[in-house]
Amino acid sequence: MAEQPTDPTDVWNLIRRADDLLKYSPNRDPAKARLQAREQLKRAAQAAAMLPDRRAGESLAAQVRTRLDDLDRLDREEA
């Protein structure tokens, strides 16, 4: 079980890794990459909710929501 990040930069890095999964998805199985990105974003959302800095946590949570909406849109377009 990976340790929960407590620093906003660590949470951002989880989000950034989800972005990279998506950006590099044309080289792999795009649907699988989107699933992995979702998993990464779920971890980021949980970590953001636990951050002591609530302002940073809310801002990062909003970034996660935007990306989940993007993934929903991409899934719909693919369907």
Binding site: D19, K23, Y24, S25, Q63, L74
Partner: protein
């Protein structure tokens, strides 16, 4: 001797936090749009004297240039000595005539993907709408039939499949800029993320 000098020259062209790639990774988060030369249009709107629309044939008839430049992706790789062919942004700007109040642009792709840039950055000599790379037509995976190329900014500003420009009096953040990436995106200053802005 020559090899070492070439390696030193290359190293001096790699911004901080980047590494050299020999290949050309394919990166994009949206689907590749279909290209039909009969229906393709390039539209320029907003704070200009002449809002203009070009067909593919008309755009390809604009005076082309060849530019060799380096390319830096925010995910960490840099590709040097890219040979591009296309139309300079300033050629397009010269035809639509930006209003004196125009300071920014948003460049977009058919998917709705956007990137924003200051007009003075876009008017640089090395900024172009490119349809060829290395002497070959630009392949769809890399933004073909045509993409914006802005060498002095991270790669997400070089909009693939670019087909519209909107001139603006005020700045308006683009797709990744809205998602926590730096508004200015200058690789030598390592401007990757929005939380670095204003530092």
């Amino acid at each position: 001797m020559f090899g070492r000098r070439a390696a030193e020259d290359q190293a001096g062209r790699i911004p901080p936090g980047q590494h050299l790639t020999r290949g050309w990774p394919v990166l994009h988060s949206e689907g590749i749009p279909r290209f039909n030369p009969d229906t393709w249009r390039f539209r320029v709107t907003g704070a200009v004297e002449r809002e203009t629309e070009w067909t593919w044939e008309e755009f390809r008839a604009l005076p082309p240039v060849n530019v060799t430049s380096d390319f830096h992706c925010v995910t960490g790789w840099s590709k040097l000595d890219n040979e591009w062919e296309g139309v300079p942004f300033r050629e397009v700007a010269g035809r639509v005539k930006p209003l004196p109040a125009a300071r920014h642009c948003v460049v977009s792709a058919p998917s709705g993907y956007t990137a924003n840039l200051p007009l003075d950055v876009l008017l640089d000599d090395d900024v172009l709408f490119a349809w060829a790379h290395g002497g070959e037509p630009l392949v769809p995976e890399h933004g073909g039939p045509m993409r914006l190329v802005v060498p002095k900014r991270y790669g997400w500003k070089s909009v693939k499949w670019a087909n519209a420009v909107r001139f603006l009096e005020r700045d308006l953040r683009g797709f990744w800029e809205e998602r926590g990436y730096h508004n200015n995106a200058e690789p030598w200053a390592e401007e990757r993320y929005s939380w670095q802005e204003g530092r």
